[in-house]
């Protein structure tokens, strides 16, 4: 009689038993205007097969030409990741047959990558406070993306069992950067957090460098997660490679689920098969793909249609001088300047609002107010429309103007929100919206006193309470006045006038 073995062991329990080693291969689509080896545009979402030419379709006789901007972006990434930039490197062909590959080989780099041996420090939160972990980088290289297959019919949406498949080669030839870490050991229970933090840091780095806008929902950053477990003191275990891990949350979940799966296998006396696994976003787990034990032989050899790349020291120095302040340095600086915690800053970063908040503060707005607008009201509006904050028509200058008007009492918070509503709706700039919507605070005492009297008549019992000293009841009258003035009154002023009118003083 055998007892059924559990399919998984809970994450923390598993990591009490085993030490994890992970490695990540991250592919990022570069934001160049044209493709890696031809002049076709790289814009996302075009009609299928409209952004193609003989080169990216791999037509017989066509030849690749390297995109200089892509090489520069790769070198800049390498420099930002503290890599050595090769004095001389080549492209290589990776040969395999697949219908999304126009040439049935991919132009990539193999044993001669452009950048190698770097590192990226990432910060993870622990019970004892933030902890910095150094992730070593094996290599950074360039390659071309494949086309995109859509499988129609069949149950799985995958190629096997499909009735037919459609190929869109618009994506074929889009420049990709591949960033490969060395094996990262010693993360213990933090392994999933470190993996996720590393990808988040890379994403921020790409954005800061301006080499990619990293729109994960468009598949412009894709991860392969390698993971193995070993008993403490034992050599590294057999790894699995989980593909199709395409969001930060998925990176974390892919690591967690693989820790849970492998630990159960190993605990039951089984062994981990070296294989490729496929991650499913919907269920948060991976399933077995092809076994790598009969490793695919890609027959790499130097690409004979291209000449080697030999970046000069002068060129590299020029590129080094274009590096912006990197995200980790910028975060430390802003935390200090704005006087906020790492957590508060993370809220800004995650909203994609860092630059906007910074510019807003430079425009004269208080840090708290700048952060409040961009990570609150405006972020909600952007999310509702499914666009980035930066794509809203609201600018840091708008916020500065609104805040100035709030400060001098011309607007209140509620009116300010209505102003932004108007700006977002395309009704013009701040002053135009105020004028056209008539949003100025009512500061005419006579008008306000009339409204107060009206409210007192309508609610005599409340009026009586206030007169008898229950000042806290004043809120009901103030509310009624605000309502009758459609929010355009200054609530504090209404309250003062009301109390004065009834001859009571604030307790």
């Amino acid at each position: 009689m055998s007892t059924a073995m559990p399919e998984t062991i809970p994450y923390d329990e598993a990591l009490n038993l085993f030490e994890p080693v992970f490695g990540l291969e991250v592919h990022v689509e570069m934001g160049t205007n044209s493709k890696m080896f031809c002049g076709c545009p790289t814009a996302f979402g075009g009609e299928p097969n409209t952004q193609v030419c003989p080169v990216c379709l791999g037509l017989p006789g066509s030849m690749p030409v390297v995109n200089r901007t892509a090489v520069e972006s790769t070198i800049r990434i390498g420099l930002a990741l503290n890599c050595t930039i090769a004095e001389w490197c080549r492209f290589a062909r990776k040969n395999y047959f697949y219908p999304d590959m126009p040439k049935d080989y991919q132009i990539s780099q193999y044993d001669e990558p452009l950048c190698s041996n770097g590192y990226l420090d990432v910060t993870v939160a622990t019970a004892e406070g933030p902890k910095v972990v150094r992730v070593e980088i094996e290599r950074v290289h360039m390659e071309e993306d494949t086309g995109k297959l859509t499988h129609t019919g069949g149950a799985t949406g995958r190629i096997h069992g499909a009735d037919y498949s459609l190929v869109d080669y618009n994506r074929a030839g889009i420049p990709l950067i591949e960033i490969v870490t060395k094996p990262v050991a010693g993360a213990g229970h933090l392994v999933a957090d470190v993996a996720k933090a590393y990808v988040a840091e890379l994403r921020d780095l790409m954005r800061a460098l301006g080499v990619s806008d990293v729109r994960m929902e468009e598949g412009s950053l894709r991860c392969d997660v390698n993971l193995s477990l070993n008993k403490p003191g034992s050599p590294m275990g057999t790894r699995s490679e989980t593909k199709n891990v395409n969001s930060l949350r998925s990176v974390e979940r892919a690591v967690r689920s693989e820790v849970e799966r492998q630990s159960a296998l190993l605990t039951a006396g089984g062994r981990v098969v070296q294989e490729t696994r496929h991650f499913h976003e919907d269920i948060g787990r991976s399933t077995s793909g092809r076994s790598k034990e009969q490793a695919e032989d890609y027959r790499y050899f130097p690409e004979p249609d291209l000449v080697p790349i030999a970046p000069s020291a002068v060129w590299i120095d020029e590129l080094r001088s274009t590096l912006p302040e990197l995200p980790s340095a910028k975060r430390s600086r802003l935390e200090a300047e704005w006087g906020i915690t790492p957590f508060e800053l993370a809220t800004v970063v995650n909203a994609g609002a860092l630059d906007l908040v910074e510019e807003t503060i430079e425009a004269g707005v208080e840090s708290a107010a700048a952060r409040k607008w961009w990570t609150g009201e405006l972020l909600r509006s952007a999310n509702d429309q499914g666009i980035e904050l930066a794509d809203l028509p609201v600018t840091p200058a708008h916020i500065a103007r609104v805040e100035a008007l709030v400060a001098d009492g011309s607007l209140n918070d509620k009116l300010a929100r209505q102003v932004f509503e108007g700006v977002i709706a395309g009704e013009g700039d701040v002053d135009e919206v105020i004028a056209s919507r008539g949003l100025a605070v009512v500061s005419d005492d006579t008008a306000l006193l009339a409204a107060i009297d009206e409210a007192l008549v309508a609610q005599p019992d409340v009026a009586e309470k206030i007169r008898s000293g229950k000042v806290q009841a004043a809120g009901a009258i103030v509310g009624a006045v605000m309502k009758s003035t459609r929010g355009q009154a200054d609530a504090a002023k209404v309250r003062a006038l009301l109390l004065e009118r009834l001859g009571v003083t604030d307790a």
């Binding site: 003989p54 791999g58 017989p60 040969n95 004979p304």
Partner: protein, 501 residues
Amino acid sequence: MPITGSDLTRQTAAVLAEAIRTGEASAVEVTQAHLDRISSVDDRVHAFLYVDAEAAIDSARSVDAKRSAGEVLGPLAGVPLALKDVLTMRGVPTTCGSRMLENWRPPYDSSVVERLRAADIVILGKTNMDEFAMGSSTEHSAYGPSHNPWDLDRIPGGSGGGSAAALAAFEAPLAIGTDTGGSIRQPAAVTGTVGVKPTYGGVPRYGLVALASSLDQAGPCARTVMDTALLHSIIAGYDPRDSTSINAPVPNVVAAAAKADVRGMRIGIVAELNGEGYQAGVAQRFRESLAILEHLGAEIVEVGCPSFEYALGAYYLILPSEASSNLARFDGMRYGLRVGDDGSHSVEQVMSLTREAGFGAEVKRRIMLGTYALSSGYYDAYYGSAQKVRTLIMRDFASAFESVDVLVSPTAPTTAFKIGEKVDDPLAMYLNDIATIPVNLAGNAAMSLPVGLAPEDGLPVGFQIMAPPMADDRLYLVGAALESALYDQWGHLLIEEAPAL
């Protein structure tokens, strides 16, 4: 040296161009004469896979119109040309001699075709070749072999046998070939015509359907050295669409052909390409040519290139390796042949069935060789070693060119062999290229020109001249001098002795 007689098809390209410029003949007349010649002989020669008479006449007419409008015409404007079927031409079938591309019409022009068009050269059609340029006889064409105009039972060489046969049959005065291991020079040798493999990178490869990217080079073919030079100067020069093309001025090959002077030059006989293994008549005409060059004022010396011994072996690892990758794209997915797409086969099966049906035996043989040579665990022993040999061969050339201006050898070991004689013996076929291959491995320039008939079979013999990279002009200095001396000796060009058909 004008070819006498009034038949327009027997003139040199230079003479035809001059006649068209002066109005002595119209481009339409010249083109029509060649189309008529094709109609009357090509059923026997089979040089062409495709002739577009209408398009050819149209472009000839536009040349005549330019002339009428007073435009200055280029040096070969209005002259007809035969294009090897391995170069793309917009809207015109480009089969590479393969079933795989039987109905493929490329949507773009190759660099070479763009330049031919810009020079107002009239493209008659596409010429036959061994499938994907793999072979030395055109017998590996999926559309049947071409025949040598000197003896229709014999091969016209390969892979560019169609282009060479078209020249020798007077179907065109100019042709374009491509040379990966001798595919311009060996056909030139066995058909009594002239062919040049320019320096690697000298003529852009954009639009040349790749066999082996690091070896392939398109080049000019004609019946005289000067015609070859004129065509060379039109197709050569940098094109940013080919990253391996050389961004430097093209050597002045036309001036060199006009100069035709070897006085004071040092000419090296490659010891390893002289001796055993050459047909008696080939060796004899080679020796006689050396004597002529010496008489013309050149100094003849012998130089050793010890690594040439390994050239054939290295070549048959590098070429198949690159070819196995270059030919992967013929998978039935996007263009060309597709077999098995009947709803009952998977995509892998369709790819496999298509490649099974679309490729001939020689292509499959080389794909398998290359796939093996690149395989993990064998790469270093095969592809890696072959690349080292390649470096050694470059060094042999470099050190030889320190002491001589050009190197020479017979172009091919034998004259044209009989159709069918070697088709089942790949090794015997490969040995045809023993003297031409080293140049491709090193990236040098080389020419073959006719130097007489072998006494034993009355068939043409080719003489090979090899120059350092970007010294293509030296080929023409030597070639034109030798051609001129032979012309004086015979009173005509060798090609005049070809049978009438």
